[in-house]
Amino acid sequence: MSAATIPEIITIALAKSFADHEVGFTGLVTGAAAMLYGTSIPLAAMMFAKLTHAPNLTILLAGWSHNPDLASLAALPDQEFDSTLLDLPCEAQTVRYPGQFSFKRGHVDFGFSSGVQLDVTGSLNSVVIGDHARPKVRLVGPILQPEHMTIFRREYVMLPHHTARVLVEKVDYVSGVGYPGGLAGRAALGIPEGGPEWVVTPECIFDFDKEAGRIRLRSIHREERRGELAGVTGFALPDLEDAPATPEPTAEELDLLRRVVDPRGLLLGRAPEH
């Protein structure tokens, strides 16, 4: 069996972090790299978890299709509300807001989001680069990020590009709140729960010293990239020397992933090799 790809390594790492009976929310992100990190890897990870230790996990695809039959698809849909998804068999379709679940009662255990900048406190930006009134670059807007980072019980920030422009000391605009001032800081802002759990990039996984409110390196996917990481990251990496490798999937795990979860390469097969 060929060695695990980076998307496969990330998929298994994510899958093991989900607990049985949890509800996982993923949007339908478009654009090759963004879709891989924002939608396909999360879907593969949740499916893997359901087949192993978390059979009662609920997948909320695009936030409305409950446990869809992805095996019946010829390609991942690229529009959230077109007829491909309308006709995709699933256990429940949410056609109304509010519908089968309540965002604000914490029914979503974990979500996946992305952004254009992420900073050392874990705050996320998808609104502007530069000044808000006269931005250098106007981006799409906050979308569901404020909710992802507060009323979802934890958040996986999925960044398809690991560069110093994305991973910055301070974001230009906070559309999703991390841990400014640590957990105490969040509590003072009126958000005692939620927040980013991991930040996943093609290079590594970050987590947080939540008390201190500071991002830290959790693991590195490829040992040979350890020396390059500081150069592509816009903040200091004090844990660089000590960070372990992201665990390599076992042969059994890779077999299940390739043969059962994603037999046609719909999710991870289009993965550009890093």
């Binding site: 109304r96 807001y97 799409v140 990020q145």
Partner: protein, 311 residues
């Protein structure tokens, strides 16, 4: 500020004296500077024929209040019709950034007021329930607060919890695109529907001036055979316009798919003010009305966009 009445006035803008009107008549119900909500979601089922008519009539200084915005707001921005949009997103999804509004926002000529997505829905629920604000617990720490003086912090009078009062959507005029309506103004929702169609209902119920463009005007008997689909009875609508394929190039669920080729042409034209002006000259100002627009698209092209939802 204390108000003498607590119910919104039924009619702030005079209704036409008959329900079924031309697109030009319907668009003239939206004055310059109006606060408008436009039905649909992202790039699904937008009343684009109506938006094009606003552009033909050279409407100015509109404020659009939305949830997840797309081509409808980008076209108004590119035509110089838009002053401000209040929304959680402006973009073209898989077609990329909305380049007209981006350019104008960066130049400082169009203002974007950012709201979180769920709260952008709640703002319409607030209007629907005639509430003066919607309470939110989770805005602390965001720059949404930094740049929006209309959102005010307060302490919950019952628990003391720190909350934020978010203003309701309160559009003056709502325009949506639906499948069918009768001449009296009863509007039928499709039996199988998704979030965009359901959200249209919240949008439609957030104002008194409700304009509906429809794929087809049907008989009152047809409405009576499907009374549970009549989600917007005649007393809730001000004007009905028949506009087949009226959401083009966005899809209408069960009727038309998205026009991928046209979306790509739109995106290409959005690269500069000059190119977009040429697009508007060709497709909007250069067509006298929606019938002429469909004529220009061509019957063969439009027929290929048809979707068969049921057989």
């Amino acid at each position: 500020m204390a108000s003498a009445s607590f119910l919104p006035p039924r009619r702030t803008i005079p209704f036409p004296d008959r329900k079924v009107v031309t697109m030009a008549e319907a668009a003239s119900l939206v004055p310059d500077g109006a606060r408008v909500a436009i039905g649909g979601f992202a790039n699904y089922q937008r009343p684009m024929a109506f938006v094009r008519e606003l552009v033909r009539q050279r409407r100015r200084d509109l404020t659009v209040v939305g949830t997840v915005s797309g081509i409808e707001v980008d076209m108004l921005a590119g035509a110089g019709a838009l002053k401000k949009v209040e929304t959680s997103y402006v973009g073209l999804e898989k077609y990329g950034l909305a380049r007209n509004i981006r350019r104008r926002n960066e130049a400082g000529t169009v203002e974007i007021v950012d709201y979180p997505e769920v709260l952008s829905f709640d703002r319409f629920r607030a209007s629907r329930e005639n509430l003066t604000f919607w309470p939110s617990a989770y805005l602390g720490g965001t720059d949404i607060l930094t740049h929006n003086p209309d959102i005010k912090a307060f302490d919950c009078p019952l628990t003391g919890r720190k909350l934020y009062a978010v203003p309701p959507a309160d559009p003056e005029v709502v325009v949506i695109h639906a499948g069918a309506a009768d001449e009296a103004g009863n509007v039928l929702w499709p039996s199988r529907r998704l979030m965009p169609q359901e959200l249209d209902l919240d949008t439609a119920q957030s104002a008194e001036m409700v304009i509906v463009t429809v794929e087809k005007i049907v008989s009152n008997q047809f409405v009576r055979r499907n009374p549970t689909l009549n989600m917007l009875p005649a007393y809730r609508t001000a004007a009905i316009v028949e506009a087949p394929c009226g959401a083009h190039p966005t899809p209408t669920l069960g009727r038309f798919v998205i026009d991928d080729a046209h979306m790509q042409a739109y995106v290409a034209a959005s690269a500069s003010d000059e190119a977009f002006d040429a697009y508007l000259d060709e497709w909007v100002r250069g067509t006298a009305d929606h019938a002429a627009y469909l004529e220009k698209l061509g019957a063969a092209h439009v027929m290929r966009l048809q979707e068969i939802a049921t057989i």
